[in-house]
């Protein structure tokens, strides 16, 4: 790949992206080790398998959010929008609420969660595919229009969900809210197996498109000029993004600014835009933030569910800084 050129030129010392990746890997491994062992009492086999499941969900979420955000920013050619800001996960909440509203709470309880997940995934992919095809595959549109449309769709999805939630009876609402709450401490373990499979498949498809990402980040015109089958490639990537967002939302609920945080940090730490470096950096940052953050809060500060609030707060700050910087130019 093109990275080899950099390495060749600086054979004696590691290039900056490589250094960053090594450092991030180290921190991530330490976070994981601490998460698994810190404050463990009683039988190790129980602790390891209990925490292992939690760890796996956190890593999956970090992976899904990081990859989906970086790819989404690449195909939309901007660094402010993320799938969440464009209302992707609000759509997930809407679908879930719609199921309870139209088919009753029994649908949530009786159908096993894996089947539910697959159906939700299908609806989500279909719907977001139509929406984003319309937004991104037609003629070029201005970023401002996209942000506005995204925010309005997000609000629409959220308001519709809230409307339906208010019309539910309190019992059904309770069950629903339980499945929708964003929490890194209590992830849904029943979905782990299927989530792993789905993430593996999307990664395989994504890996095969790896060579197009850098070209796509040059913008639509240059990508077409260089012979990328633009419509097809972008459509596939948007489907991958929809699937990954569904996975992370199903596991821990909606998180709005987390993706923006890791993608922005990854880009600025790596210093260039090569996906070969930026993607792993974003994934590692996600793992550090979730696993490390969770360890710190649970074991050191003995808090419980505040991680999502802190991450959203930091991510929100990054969003505001990016918007201000953009308007200052």
């Amino acid at each position: 790949m093109q990275g080899e050129l950099v390495m060749e030129g600086e054979k004696k010392r590691l290039s900056r992206p490589a250094l960053v990746l090594v450092a991030l890997s180290l921190v991530a491994v330490i976070s994981i080790a601490l998460f698994m062992t810190l404050g463990a009492k009683g039988s190790w086999s129980f602790v390891l398998s209990f925490r292992g499941k939690k760890l796996l969900s956190l890593v999956l979420v970090a992976y899904a959010v990081a990859v989906s955000t970086v790819l989404f920013q690449t195909v939309t050619n901007n660094r402010i929008l993320t799938p969440s800001i464009m209302g992707f996960d609000a759509l997930y909440v809407l679908i879930k609420t719609g199921v309870v509203f139209f088919f009753g709470v029994s649908a949530l309880v009786t159908i096993d969660s894996q089947t539910q997940f697959v159906v939700e995934l299908a609806v989500m992919v279909g719907f977001s595919f139509l929406l984003f095809r319309w937004l991104f595959l037609g003629e070029e549109r201005s970023l401002h229009l996209l942000v506005l449309v995204g925010i309005i769709f997000g609000i629409l999805f959220r308001s519709l969900s809230q409307l339906m939630q208010r019309m539910l009876d309190p019992g059904a609402f309770n069950v629903l809210q339980d499945t929708l709450f964003a929490s890194f401490a209590t992830t849904d373990p029943t979905l782990l197996g299927i989530a792993v499979v789905i993430v593996a498949i999307t990664s395989l498809v994504g890996w095969r498109l790896m060579h197009t990402y850098d070209v796509l980040s040059l913008g639509r015109a240059q990508a077409i000029n260089l012979g990328v089958d633009y419509k097809r490639t972008v459509a596939i990537i948007l489907v991958l993004v929809a699937v990954l967002v569904s996975v992370s939302t199903a596991l821990v609920g909606p998180v709005t600014f987390f993706g923006l945080l890791v993608a922005t940090l990854a880009h600025s730490l790596i210093g260039n835009s090569k996906h070969l470096y930026v993607l792993p950096a974003a994934i590692l940052l996600g793992i550090i933030a979730l696993v490390g953050g969770q360890t710190l809060l649970e074991r050191v500060f003995a808090f419980d569910t505040a991680l999502s609030i802190i991450i959203e707060f930091l991510g929100g700050l990054v969003f505001i800084v990016l918007v201000l910087r953009r308007s200052a130019r």
């Binding site: 920013q73 015109a221 000029n225 260089l226």
Partner: protein, 252 residues
Amino acid sequence: MIITSDVSKSYGETAVVDGVSLQLPKGGITSIIGPNGAGKSTFLSMISRLMAMDKGSVTVDGLDVAKTSGDVLARRLSILRQDNHMTARLTVHDLVSFGRYPYSKGRLTANDKVHIEEAIGYLDLTALSGRFLDELSGGQRQRAFVAMVLCQDTDYVLLDEPLNNLDMKHAMGMMKLLQRAATELGKTVVLVLHDINFASWYSDYIVAMKHGRVAAQGPVADMIKPEVLSSIYEMDIKVHEIGGQRISVYYG
């Protein structure tokens, strides 16, 4: 040869390009001139498949632009537009390397590397090759993009207002370079130009567009004439011959 037949594009009721049928000769520099809103850039975008046509067809050396795979076309025809906004942070060398993507899909071969160094040298960018694009002046960045397009090594090079943002010296340098690319490398260069004196000095063939149609076309001697230019631009334009070149004067 690029052949367009009945190429049309409209936004709502307004036809931006209205049934343009043209044969752009192979080799040399062809300039497309005309007033603002004549449809020049839209026309160029449709030739280069950046924009879908409402009607008509374009063939490049017999290949139908709408049907041929992007991959094949990318080795025949390249396009550079005036605004190259991108979020990616790249060095000049990275950008020029992308010119080889149609051939190697990101895995650069030794041959690719030769092409990259040649293109960088051709545009006199060797000293800047490790610099990031956002550290360059507008003119240097423009040259880096042209280097990428040359590195793509296509028979046809299409440029939309390549002199935008360039001062006189760099504009002249750019046109000299394109002329060299046409004569030394045998490229066919098609460009949209606003400055009719540059068009007159460097073109082999000129196409004038107005209201989405071809208003006139021909070699420089037939096109750079007071009566032709005045009717295209709807203003009084005088043409003087200076040192064997036709120079238009229209400043007041």
